[in-house]
Symmetry: C2
Subunit: 208 residues, 2 copies
């Protein structure tokens, strides 16, 4: 990914915890290749080549192409969940916490849009065990947002007839930023985050 | 695509206008193949095989794989635009027209989610001319929704500080239904449409 994307997202690459350096370079190369050509059209040879390594060197770190996708998907989902939880568990009223959760989740999906697209669009390529693990992480995203909305309803700050459906819509709105966001477009990730926080507070009927 | 998907969307296949029958069968086969394996991992041989035809028979109707994707994308976008325009140009107040536009656009994306995913995720695979044509169709979607919102603001029914950003969010929310919608999930396309119409009216601050 380009430096422009890193800067736009206000986030460092989500691969900081991947060591050694060769394993990290291979993940970054895999994200690029999957985003450009799709998972099924990419070979481990393509990925090794992009990382300036031999196929044999790749197999030291990853046994299969699916292991690379699984690793990317797990790290991507864990990072997005951390971003959401930090906002949800922060100080403040449910209104403030929901606004912060939306702002930071949108910033992440705008800044890391290439990773987010791979993670979202190639989910079906994972085997049953890897997929089950990712689905469990997604349920945690869902609970995190649902709990803030439930807190807001309990506190009388929100008016939400369908908490489950509204949770789904809030997450969907934020995730889809990864599809349309363009670093050369008119809005920065922070500006989209601010707009979306306002729209989501309207969706839950928050008092202003 | 399965009959379940057709029924769930309350829509017939968007390929009714494609003739002869062999050309239509090839488009349906191409949508399935692109959705399962991605555009770049699919060959014209795969598509012909799925349609029970020879590669030579495919070339009578489509010169290249890109021509198939372009045709799918154009028909998909034109159909979605028609759905949106019918609602926008209908009788009723801006509130009623916006609610109907969201309901019908959501129903289309839920019912035709396989087509919609291919159209959205493989846009980068189109060459410059085909892409420009599709981008122009997308701008028309955008104008259609923006005009209803502007009408609502002018009529004093809506309170929208950022019409352009709100238009983007409304369309994004509806389009992303194609990503997460599951025919075996708990909500029908009509139920998602009703929920989303309510949430969008909240986003624009419509009087109830």
């Amino acid at each position: 990914m380009s430096t422009a994307e890193e800067t736009a997202g206000g986030e460092t690459q989500p691969w900081g915890e991947v060591t050694p350096d060769a394993a990290r370079r291979l993940l970054v190369a895999a994200v690029e290749a999957f985003a450009e050509r799709g998972y099924h059209a990419t070979t481990t040879r393509d990925i090794a080549g992009r990382a300036g390594m031999s196929p044999a060197a790749l197999y030291i770190h990853y046994k299969t192409k699916e292991e690379l996708l699984h690793r990317i998907s797990r790290i991507g989902h864990e990072k997005a969940l951390r971003v959401l939880r930090t906002a949800a568990e922060g100080e403040g009223t449910p209104t403030e916490r929901l606004a912060e959760a939306v702002r930071s989740f949108v910033r992440w999906h705008a800044g890391q849009h290439t990773v987010a697209r791979v993670v979202q669009y190639e989910l079906d390529a994972l085997g049953p065990d890897a997929r089950a693990e990712i689905v469990a992480l997604r349920r945690q995203n869902d609970s995190t947002v649902r709990e803030i909305i439930e807190d807001g309803v309990a506190a009388g700050e929100f008016d939400v007839p369908d908490v489950k459906g509204t949770t789904l819509a809030v997450l969907s709105l934020c995730i889809d930023v990864a599809r349309w966001f363009n670093v050369n477009g008119p809005r920065t990730p922070d500006e989209v985050g601010a707009l979306y926080a306002d729209l989501v507070l309207r969706m839950v009927g928050a008092e202003k």
